[in-house]
């Protein structure tokens, strides 16, 4: 190109010093650079926009936090291949889940919490963290009893499907201690004489496996596994729980409290809040059980 310069100068010295060859080279280069960068920009913008994980798509156990996971996952599908129940899938293009990344859907195929966590074993990059060795430490999501209007336990019936299926429990030969879901006994105000046994999730134990969501007997599950970010609030840390502090320090932090009696509940053991117009009679409990209060009058 330098050889062309003198000829160029003699032809039109005042006009231009760019030879046609160089012009072609430069414009070709600019076209390639412009086109290449434009395509890369399109790819970048698309990949960023399509990075949101829908709430109902759950990552395999041990998955790094979502932003890191998207940097680390090569989308190779080894976890999918190594999943014994075959619940893991790789998202196909056009799916709302980040293309090619592994996920499962609790309602249709929950994680069965294999003890040896085979899905993590062959992950080449550590997108599924090999530091997770106890499946009970997995946090794929958090189960939330999200609809109290349809959950039949809240309607006063006994169901317990989610409670019974929950695998986060300590099992011995003749006993089982559920940890992630407990049944909390509450007074049923509608019948006024029955208990409601309400499934209650404990976040410190729930792995987010989704077995409860799958087990829910309703058409649409009343209990769902959500990303912890959607499911959990977070306090500022300046709320101290008096009962915890008292336990910790062996005394109340604000000194002894004056306990005033509650009218009508004098001489009742703590927790017995039944109020009677008259002292309870000694009639056969089977007699009154289930009959309407109005019948007595």
């Amino acid at each position: 190109m330098n050889a062309e310069k003198p000829a160029e100068r003699t032809r039109s010295p005042e006009k231009t010093t760019v030879s046609p060859g160089r012009r072609k080279f430069l414009s070709g280069m600019a076209g390639a650079a412009g086109g290449g960068c434009l395509m890369a920009m399109g790819v970048g913008i698309y990949s960023r926009q399509a990075s949101a994980l829908p709430a109902l798509a759950l990552r395999p156990p041990g998955a790094l936090p979502e932003p890191e996971f998207l940097a680390a996952c090569t989308r190779c599908g080894l976890c999918v291949r190594d999943c014994p129940p075959g619940i893991l899938k790789l998202a196909a293009p056009g799916n709302l889940i980040p293309t090619g990344t592994p996920y499962f859907t609790a309602r249709t195929g929950p994680c069965v919490m294999c003890e040896n966590i085979p899905c993590i074993k062959n992950c080449p990059t550590g997108a599924l963290d090999p530091k997770l060795t106890d499946i009970n430490d997995a946090r794929m999501g958090l189960a939330v009893l999200i609809d109290q209007e349809t959950c039949i336990a809240f309607l006063g019936l006994r169901c317990e499907a989610c409670y019974n299926i929950c695998p986060v429990a300590i099992k011995t030969d003749n006993d089982i201690t559920h940890r992630a879901i407990s049944l909390e006994k509450r007074h049923n105000p509608r019948s006024d004489r029955h208990a409601m046994l309400l499934p209650t999730v404990h976040s410190e134990y729930c792995t987010g496996c989704g077995l409860c969501e799958k087990a829910c007997i309703l058409k649409e599950s009343a209990i769902r596994v959500l990303p912890p970010k959607l499911a959990q609030g977070k306090g500022d840390g300046h709320y101290l729980k008096g009962w915890e502090e008292r336990e910790k320090h062996g005394r109340s932090l604000i000194g002894d409290q004056l306990e005033l009696p509650v009218r009508g509940l004098e001489n009742k053991p703590l927790g017995d809040v039944r109020v009677y117009d008259e002292p309870p009679s000694n009639t056969d409990p089977a007699d009154t059980h289930g009959s309407d209060p109005e019948d007595k009058q």
Partner: protein, 290 residues
Amino acid sequence: MSTRDPNKRLGQDAIANKGWLVANKWLLLRRVSQLGILALFMVGSWFGVWIIKGNLTSSLVLGVVPLTDPYAFLQMLATGFLPAKTAIIGALIVALFYLLIGGRVFCSWVCPVNMITDAAAWTRRRFNIKSNHAPSANTRYWFMVGTFVASALTGTLAMEWVNPVSIAHRGLFFGMGAGLWFLAALFIYDSFVATRGWCGHLCPMGAFYSLLGKAALLRVAAPRRDACDDCMDCFGICPEPQVIRPALKKAGQDSPVILDSRCTTCGRCIDVCGKQVFRLTHRFDQRSSS
């Protein structure tokens, strides 16, 4: 000697001289390689015998040897994430292999998209489609650099969202979804818009592998270049026609070896040449009839 007869099909002389089988030898071998690699992944899901598990981005051979696509690996590094040892070893193995054998050997012997774009090239020849709005062939290198920048800025393996190679291969084994439309669009683009538009001009993965194979040992050469009768069949069939001239016509080089790293070592020039000018050899083979 002869100028090209427009009604003559590419490789007709070669078929007449060598027979159909020899005149398609390298094409057939490539298809066996491409389909064979797909089959190795497939037998696992069909029969539960895992020879190779995963997909082209990352896989595990016989449960022991990890393989990772170095292009995806570099995107990962660009995000700032340092992957576990397995992926590093896997990327090194694959990079070393293509470094020695020839980067773009991946393109013509392994990549599943090659079959799509070859089909598009065939369609162009068969229906004599001449329209060509191909962008600059250097676009791919800029695009490649751009994908690393995009990965760094977005914190994800940016190209892996849309990489047709990954979409095709992953799709075959894990569900294609809308990827099918994407690949169809690629076929239409290559057939009707731009000759060898994707593989020869845009694909950043091909660009990466071409740079990787700058000093590769396995090369095509034109040792019998004085027998060339200028029939142009090799230029007509070659996916990167510009790479042939320096070796065949001594344009800027004396060596008969095609040294341009954009050559995919597909061997089609060897196939279609009726004069048996070309052969597959190594980089330092200087034997030449002229």
